[in-house]
C-alpha cells in the first residue's frame, strides 16, 4: 500500500508560484501596454487603444496559462480545445468574419461614411447604413443595394460627395464618464494650432458617434486644404489627441 504524504511546503510552493506569475503578468501587461501606447502615439487613438487591449489580453492569456500550470493542472488539452473551437468558428463564419474585419478597416482607412454619395462595383447611391456585414446604399431610383464590406477593401470605391477628399475623420475612444466639454475644448484649441492647413470654411467638429455608460466613441472631423497634407495632419492630430487624453488621465479625468 502506497502512502501519499503531502507536506505544507508542497502546497505552498505552487500557490506562491501562481501568485508570483500573476503579479509578473500584471506588471508585464501594464509595461507593454504603456510601450504600445507610446509607439502608436501617431496612430488613430482608436487603433492604439485596441492594440493596447490586444497586447493586454495576450499577456494575460499566456500568464494565466503559466500560472494554472504551476498548480499542477495540465493545460495542453485546454489549449487544444480552445484552438479547435477557434478554428471551427473561423472556418464556419469565414465570410462573415471577412466582412466584419473589412468593416473595421473600411471605418479606418476607406474614405466613406453614412451620407456620402458613392459608386462601387457598378452601383451608385447614397450610403445610408454601414453594418458589420454590409454597406447599404440607396440608389437614385429608390432601391436599396447591399454591398458586402469586403468589396470596399478589395475594389475601387468612388466617393462622389462634394469636398469628400478634404474630409479627415479621426475616431477617438474615451471612457463613458469623460468630461466631454473639457476634452472638446482642448481638441478644438489643438486644431486651431494647425488651422493654416485646414479649410477655414469648415471648422473642426467633434461629434459623439456612440455612447454607453462605459465608453464613448467620438469623431473629430477636419477638412484639409491640400490633399498631400492629409496623412501628416492625421498623424499630428492623433498625436495631439493622445497627449490630451494622457494629460486628462494624469489630472484624474477619465
Amino acid at each position: 500500500m502506497e502512502v501519499f504524504q503531502v507536506t505544507l511546503s508542497d502546497m505552498l510552493l505552487p500557490a506562491l508560484s501562481f501568485l508570483v506569475i500573476i503579479v509578473v503578468t500584471w506588471v508585464t501587461a501594464y509595461v507593454l501596454g504603456a510601450i504600445v501606447s507610446r509607439l502608436m502615439s501617431r496612430s488613430t487613438p482608436l487603433v492604439a487603444a485596441q492594440a493596447k487591449r490586444l497586447v493586454w489580453a495576450f499577456v494575460w492569456f499566456v500568464g494565466l496559462l503559466l500560472a494554472v500550470e504551476q498548480l499542477g493542472l495540465h493545460v495542453e488539452l485546454l489549449l487544444l480545445i480552445v484552438g479547435l473551437m477557434g478554428a471551427a468558428v473561423i472556418v464556419g463564419n469565414r465570410d462573415s468574419l471577412e466582412n466584419i474585419s473589412a468593416r473595421y478597416f473600411t471605418d479606418l482607412y476607406v474614405p466613406i461614411k453614412v451620407g456620402d454619395y458613392v459608386a462601387v462595383r457598378g452601383q451608385t447611391g447614397r450610403v445610408i447604413e454601414m453594418n458589420p456585414i454590409c454597406t447599404i446604399i440607396l440608389s437614385a431610383d429608390d432601391q436599396l443595394i447591399s454591398i458586402p464590406n469586403t468589396v470596399f477593401v478589395k475594389e475601387a470605391v468612388v466617393n462622389a460627395t462634394p469636398q469628400a477628399w478634404k474630409e479627415l475623420t479621426i475616431p477617438i475612444m474615451v471612457g463613458g464618464d469623460v468630461d466631454l466639454a473639457e476634452l472638446e475644448r482642448s481638441v478644438l484649441k489643438s486644431c486651431n494650432k494647425i488651422r493654416i492647413h485646414l479649410d477655414q470654411r469648415f471648422p473642426p467638429v467633434l461629434s459623439v458617434k456612440s455612447r454607453t455608460p462605459q465608453s464613448a466613441e467620438l469623431t473629430l472631423t477636419l477638412m484639409v486644404k491640400e490633399p498631400g497634407r492629409k496623412e501628416a495632419i492625421s498623424a499630428e492630430m492623433n498625436q495631439r489627441i493622445s497627449a490630451i487624453l494622457e494629460s486628462a488621465k494624469k489630472k484624474g479625468q477619465p
Binding site: 466639454a181 475644448r185 471648422p203 467638429v205
Partner: protein, 421 residues
C-alpha cells in the same frame, strides 16, 4: 421656493427672452399642455438648482476665464448679425480660442440636458437664441428639437466662413422659429432645409400694472421731469445697436419746435455688460458716449438717463410718456413697442426692427429708416404736437398688441411642439 418674488428674490435678465419664455412655460403648464419643464441656462451667480412656479431651473456655471471667452464670442455673433462694423473682423470666429469657450459652454449645457433627459425622459428640447445654437447638434438625440432665433437673421450679414457651421447647427433642429416674417424669409434664402416658422414674440399682459397718474407723476418728478413736459420714452439696454444716439440727434432737431419735449432713456447694460452677468463694459461706455453726445448737441437738459427701472416704475414711465421711440439700428423684434401699446402709447419705430411689420403707418405708429434722423425728428414732432392723434394711434396700438400676447404665442408654439411629439 415657490414664494419667491420678482425684484426681491430674483430678477429676469434684461431683454425679451426670459420675459417671454417664462410665461410661455407657465401658461403651457397651466393649460395641461406641459406636464413639466426644466430650464437650463447660464447663470454665473445663481444656484445650481431652483424651482419657480413649478418650473425647474438648472443653472450652468462657468469659471471666470471660460465666461470671458464665451462672452466675446457671443458679442461677436451678436454684433455680426446686427451688422455692426466693429464685428466685421469676426469672420474667423470659429477658429479663435474664444470660440472653444463658447463650445465648452454649449457642450456643458448639452451634457446637462442629456443627463436630465436620462432622468426625466423629455419629449422635446426647446433651445433659445444664438448663445445656445450648437446645443441641438451636441445633444445627439433624435428627440424633437426646436430652436428659436430671437435676433435678426439677415443672410447678407452672415460672413462666408460662417455659412457651413451655421448650416450644420441650424439643420440639427427639426423646427427653427424666427421672430418676424422677414427673418423667416432670409432663413429660407440662406438654405435652411428644415421646417421654419415665424412667431412674433409675446408678453404676458398680466405682468404689466396700471400705475395711477399720481404714481407716474411721482416717478417723473423723481427723474427731474416737470409736469408741463411731454415725454418720449426709449426703453432699451445701453448698446449702440439700440440707436439711442439717433433719438438724441432727433431731439436736437425737434427742440426748437417742441421745447417741452423730453427724451427719457430707460435701461442700463445687457446681460453681457451688467454686473450680474458677464461684466463686459459695453453698457457703461455707451452711456458715457450718449451723455457726451447730448452735451455736444446742447440737449443735455432735454435728455434724462433713468437707468434700470423696476417693472412698476417702467409701467409708470410708459403712463407718463406721450409716445415711445424704438430707434434700433437692427432689432430681432422690439417688445417695448408692444409694452407701449399695452399702455395705449403709440410708437415711432425704426424699420430695422422686426416689430415694424406690425406698425401701420399713422394708424398705430410711425416709421422711419434707422439712419434717417430727419424723419425720426419729424415723426417725434408730429406725435408731440398732436395729442389727439397720439391718443388715437395709442388706442389702435392697444388692439394690435393683442397679437403679441402670450395666449397667441402659446397657441402658435404649442401647435409647433405638439406637431413634433
Amino acid at each position: 421656493m415657490g414664494g419667491m418674488k420678482e425684484e426681491v428674490d430674483y430678477r429676469f435678465t434684461p431683454g425679451g427672452v426670459t420675459r417671454m419664455v417664462f410665461p410661455l412655460l407657465k401658461r403651457m403648464k397651466e393649460a395641461g399642455i406641459l406636464k413639466g419643464a426644466t430650464w437650463v441656462s447660464l447663470n454665473p451667480g445663481g444656484p445650481r438648482h431652483s424651482v419657480l412656479d413649478g418650473i425647474e431651473f438648472r443653472n450652468v456655471l462657468l469659471d471666470h476665464e471660460s465666461l470671458a471667452g464665451y462672452g466675446k464670442t457671443k458679442e461677436a455673433i451678436w454684433g455680426t448679425v446686427h451688422g455692426l462694423s466693429e464685428a466685421s473682423s469676426s469672420g474667423d470666429m470659429f477658429w479663435r480660442d474664444d470660440f472653444t469657450d463658447y463650445a465648452y459652454y454649449n457642450r456643458l449645457s448639452a451634457e446637462t440636458m442629456r443627463a436630465l433627459d436620462g432622468e426625466g425622459d423629455f419629449d422635446l428640447f426647446y433651445v433659445h437664441d444664438f448663445q445656445q445654437l450648437p446645443v441641438g447638434y451636441m445633444l445627439g438625440t433624435l428627440k424633437p428639437k426646436v430652436f428659436r432665433w430671437h435676433i435678426p437673421f439677415d443672410r447678407t450679414t452672415i460672413p462666408k466662413l460662417w455659412i457651413e457651421p451655421l448650416s450644420t447647427y441650424l439643420n440639427s433642429y427639426d423646427v427653427v422659429i424666427a421672430s418676424s416674417r422677414r427673418y423667416l424669409d432670409s432663413l429660407k434664402e440662406f438654405g435652411f432645409g428644415g421646417v421654419a416658422r415665424h412667431v412674433y414674440p409675446y408678453v404676458d399682459p398680466s405682468d404689466y400694472s396700471k400705475p395711477t397718474a399720481r404714481e407716474a407723476k411721482a416717478l417723473a418728478r423723481g427723474l427731474g421731469i416737470a409736469d408741463r413736459e411731454k415725454v418720449a420714452v426709449v426703453v432699451a439696454r445701453m448698446d449702440p445697436i439700440k440707436g439711442q444716439d439717433r433719438a438724441i440727434r432727433a431731439m436736437a432737431k425737434v427742440r426748437s419746435q417742441e421745447p417741452d419735449l423730453r427724451l427719457l432713456l430707460v435701461g442700463n447694460g445687457s446681460f453681457s455688460s451688467s454686473s450680474g452677468g458677464l461684466k463686459l463694459s459695453k453698457g457703461a461706455a455707451w452711456r458715457a458716449r450718449l451723455e457726451q453726445l447730448a452735451k455736444d448737441l446742447g440737449v443735455q437738459d432735454r435728455v434724462t438717463f433713468a437707468g434700470h427701472l423696476s417693472q412698476r416704475e417702467l409701467d409708470a414711465a410708459y403712463v407718463r410718456s406721450s409716445f415711445t421711440v424704438l430707434p434700433s439700428v437692427q432689432e430681432g423684434f422690439g417688445l417695448v413697442v408692444i409694452e407701449g401699446w399695452i399702455h395705449g402709447r403709440p410708437s415711432v419705430v425704426s424699420t430695422g426692427a422686426g416689430v415694424s411689420e406690425l406698425v401701420q403707418e399713422r394708424a398705430n405708429g410711425l416709421l422711419f429708416e434707422p439712419d434717417d434722423v430727419d424723419t425720426l425728428a419729424d415723426q417725434m414732432a408730429r406725435l408731440a404736437s398732436d395729442e389727439a392723434l397720439a391718443r388715437k394711434m395709442g388706442a389702435r396700438g392697444r388692439v394690435t398688441s393683442r397679437s403679441c400676447f402670450v395666449e397667441e404665442g402659446v397657441k402658435q408654439e404649442s401647435d409647433i411642439m405638439l406637431g413634433l411629439v
